[in-house]
C-alpha cells in the first residue's frame, strides 16, 4: 500500500468525499427516508421547498428528498452490479485470451472489437429492446456494453506481463497456468482495472439515468434521478425544483467520480505522473 503514504491530491479528497457521501446516502436510503418515497399526499401537491418538505414535493405530493434518497439507492445498486458483472466477465476473458493467445484470443477479440464498434449507450439501448425495460434489463445491458472495454484493458496488461521474468519463473517452478494467472498475472492488473472501474461506475450511473429519462429504465412509480427529471418536464414552469434537484444529484455524483478517476489515473498511470 505504498501509494497511501503520499499525500493524496485535492481532487482525490473532494472526489472521494462526494462519492463516499453518495454511497452513504444510498445505504441510508435503502432502510430509511424522511417520508415514504411512494406515498401520495394530495394535500401537498407541488409544494415548494420548506421546513416540512426540505426539497419540496412533486405533482402527487411525494417528498422529493425521500425520492432522491431512494433513487440514489437504486442508481448505486444498478451501477455497482453492472460494473461488477462487466469487471468479472471482462477480466476472465482478458486474462485467458491474453495469457493463452492463439485462435481463442483471435475469435474473442474479433467479437470484442465489433462490440466496441457500437457506441456504449447505443448497445445498451439495443439490448434494452431485447431484455426489457426494468432494472435487471439495465444491469444486463450495461454489463454487456462495458465488458469489451474491460477485456481490452486487462488483455493489454496481461500481454505485457506475460513477457516478464517473474511469470517465466512461476512456470519454471512447475506452477500450472491457472495458478500463475491467478497468483501472478491477475494482481498486477488491479491498478488499471481500478482506474477503469471507477470511470465505468460513472458511465453506468449516467447511462442508467439517461435510460430512465427516456422511459426505458426503472419503471415508475419507483424513483430514479432519471425518471424524476423526465417527469419534471410537465411541471417545469410551475415547480422548477423538480427539475433542479435530481439534476444536481446526477451532476455532483458524476463530478465526484470524475475527480476520483483523475486522481487514480494520476496515481496509477506512470505515463501521466507529473503531467497534471
Amino acid at each position: 500500500m505504498k501509494f497511501l503514504e503520499r499525500r493524496p491530491a485535492p481532487n482525490a479528497w473532494i472526489g472521494g468525499l462526494i462519492v463516499g457521501s453518495l454511497l452513504l446516502v444510498a445505504g441510508v436510503g435503502a432502510f430509511w427516508t424522511p417520508y415514504d418515497p411512494l406515498a401520495l399526499n394530495f394535500t401537498a401537491q407541488l409544494a415548494p421547498p420548506d421546513a416540512v418538505y426540505w426539497l419540496g414535493t412533486d405533482e402527487f405530493g411525494r417528498d422529493v428528498l425521500s425520492r432522491l434518497m431512494a433513487g440514489a439507492t437504486t442508481s448505486a445498486w444498478i451501477s455497482l452490479l453492472s460494473v461488477g458483472c462487466a469487471v468479472l466477465v471482462g477480466t476472465t476473458l482478458g486474462v485467458l485470451t491474453g495469457y493463452l493467445r492463439g485462435a481463442v484470443d483471435r475469435v474473442v477479440m474479433a467479437f470484442n472489437d465489433a462490440l466496441m464498434a457500437f457506441p456504449g449507450i447505443l448497445l445498451a439501448l439495443g439490448l434494452m429492446a431485447v431484455l426489457g425495460a426494468n432494472r435487471y434489463g439495465i444491469i444486463g445491458a450495461l454489463a454487456v456494453a462495458y465488458t469489451p472495454s474491460v477485456t481490452r484493458v486487462v488483455r493489454g496488461s496481461v500481454l505485457s506481463l506475460r513477457e516478464r521474468e517473474f511469470i517465466d519463473a512461476s512456470r519454471v517452478m512447475g506452477n500450472s497456468g491457472l495458478f500463475t494467472m491467478w497468483r501472478h498475472v491477475l494482481p498486477n492488473c488491479v491498478a488499471p482495472l481500478t482506474v477503469l472501474a471507477t470511470s465505468m461506475f460513472g458511465w453506468a450511473l449516467l447511462a442508467e439515468s439517461a435510460l430512465s429519462f427516456l422511459g426505458l429504465g426503472v419503471p415508475p412509480p419507483a424513483p430514479t434521478w432519471g425518471n424524476m427529471l423526465a417527469a419534471s418536464r410537465s411541471h417545469f414552469d410551475e415547480a422548477v425544483w423538480l427539475g433542479i434537484f435530481p439534476g444536481i444529484c446526477i451532476s455532483l455524483t458524476l463530478l465526484g467520480i470524475n475527480l476520483l478517476g483523475d486522481a487514480l489515473r494520476d496515481r496509477f498511470d506512470p505515463r501521466m505522473r507529473g503531467l497534471r
Binding site: 457500437f118 457506441p119 439501448l125 422511459g215 423526465a230 418536464r233
Partner: protein, 314 residues
C-alpha cells in the same frame, strides 16, 4: 501511404461483418418470430406460414442471415411494422436531422476547446489552467439531458428568446430551422467542450515536455511560434482521434437531447421503435449508427497522416 489506406480499409471489413451478425442475432433473441410480429395477433396459421416462407424464416439461422445480409448490402433494411415504410429512407431522413446537430456542435466545440486546452497546458498549474480544467470537468459532469433542460428553462421559458420545443426543417424555413437548432446545439457544444479540452490539454502537456520544444525555445522562437508551429501539430493527433469517437458517441446517445427538445431525430426514432417493438426499425437504427461510427473512425484514421505522417511508416 497507399498500403496504409488499403490495410486500414481491409481492417474495417471484418468489424462491419461482425457488427451485422451482432445486430441480426440481437434482434433474433427477442421472443416470438418476426412473421407473427409483422402480422399481429389476428393472423391465420396459413397466412403466417406463407409469410414465414416468403421471409425465409423456415430456413436455418445462418441461411436466414445470408438472405437478410444480402438485402442489407443492396440497401434494403426491411419495412417498418408500424408505419409500413421502408426502413432505410426513414432512418436516413432522421439521421440528417440528428447528424446536423452533432456535426455543428462538435465543430464549434473543437474550435473553442482545442485552443483553450493548449492555453491550459501552456500555463500549467496557473490560475487560468485551474479555471479551465475546473470548467471542463464541471461541463463533463453535467448530463446533456439536464443541461438541455436548464438551457430550455433559461432561454425558452424565463427569457423567452427561443422557441421552446419542436423542429422546423430547412426546406420549410431556413431561418426558423436555425432558431430551433440553437438550444440543442448549445447543449451538445457545452458538453463536448469539456471532453475535447481535457484531451487537448493532456496531449499538449505530453508534447511540451519533449526536447524539441526546449530546443525551439532555446532558438529564441516566440511562444506563439513554439505553440502553433511546433506543439500544435504534434499534439493534435489524440484529439483528432477523439473527435471521431465523440461524433459516434453523440449520435448513439442523442436520444436524450432529442427528447428534451422534441426533435424528430434518429435517437427518437430508435427509442420510439423500442417502445413500439418495431424490430426492423430497431435493427436498422442500430446497424446504421454502428456503420456510421465505424466509417467516421475509418475516415478519421485515414486523415490522421495529414497531421502526423509518422503513422504511415509503421
Amino acid at each position: 501511404m497507399l498500403g496504409f489506406i488499403v490495410k486500414r480499409l481491409l481492417m474495417a471489413v471484418p468489424t462491419l461483418l461482425i457488427v451485422a451478425v451482432s445486430v441480426f442475432v440481437l434482434v433474433r433473441l427477442v421472443p416470438g418470430d418476426p412473421a407473427s410480429l409483422l402480422l399481429g395477433d389476428m393472423a391465420t396459421p396459413s397466412a403466417l406460414a406463407d409469410l414465414q416462407r416468403r421471409l425465409g424464416l423456415d430456413r436455418s439461422l445462418p441461411a436466414q442471415f445470408g438472405i437478410w445480409f444480402g438485402h442489407v448490402l443492396q440497401g434494403d433494411l426491411g419495412q417498418s411494422i408500424t408505419s409500413q415504410q421502408p426502413v432505410l429512407p426513414l432512418v436516413w431522413d432522421r439521421f440528417l436531422v440528428s447528424g446536423r446537430l452533432v456535426v455543428v456542435a462538435v465543430f464549434l466545440a473543437v474550435l473553442v476547446a482545442v485552443p483553450a486546452g493548449m492555453v491550459a497546458a501552456w500555463r500549467q498549474n496557473s490560475l487560468a489552467d485551474l479555471v479551465l480544467v475546473g470548467t471542463s470537468t464541471l461541463l463533463l459532469s453535467i448530463p446533456t439531458f439536464w443541461l438541455g433542460l436548464l438551457i430550455l428553462l433559461l432561454f425558452g421559458l424565463k427569457l423567452g428568446w427561443l422557441p421552446v420545443v419542436g423542429h422546423v426543417s430547412f426546406a420549410q424555413s431556413p431561418g426558423h430551422a436555425l432558431m430551433y437548432m440553437i438550444m440543442p446545439v448549445l447543449t451538445l457544444f457545452l458538453h463536448e467542450i469539456g471532453v475535447v479540452m481535457r484531451m487537448a490539454r493532456a496531449s499538449t502537456l505530453e508534447v511540451l515536455r519533449l526536447d524539441y520544444i526546449t530546443h525551439a525555445r532555446a532558438k529564441g522562437l516566440s511562444e506563439r511560434e513554439v505553440m502553433w508551429r511546433h506543439a500544435f501539430r504534434n499534439s493534435f493527433g489524440p484529439t483528432w482521434t477523439l473527435i471521431g469517437l465523440v461524433l459516434g458517441n453523440l449520435l448513439g446517445g442523442i436520444a436524450v437531447v432529442e427528447t428534451v427538445f422534441s426533435i424528430p431525430g434518429l435517437g427518437r426514432l430508435l427509442v420510439d421503435s423500442i417502445f413500439g417493438r418495431d424490430y426492423p426499425v430497431i435493427q436498422g437504427c442500430l446497424l446504421f449508427v454502428a456503420f456510421v461510427y465505424v466509417v467516421v473512425n475509418l475516415v478519421v484514421d485515414l486523415l490522421y497522416p495529414l497531421f502526423d505522417p509518422r503513422v504511415t511508416a509503421s
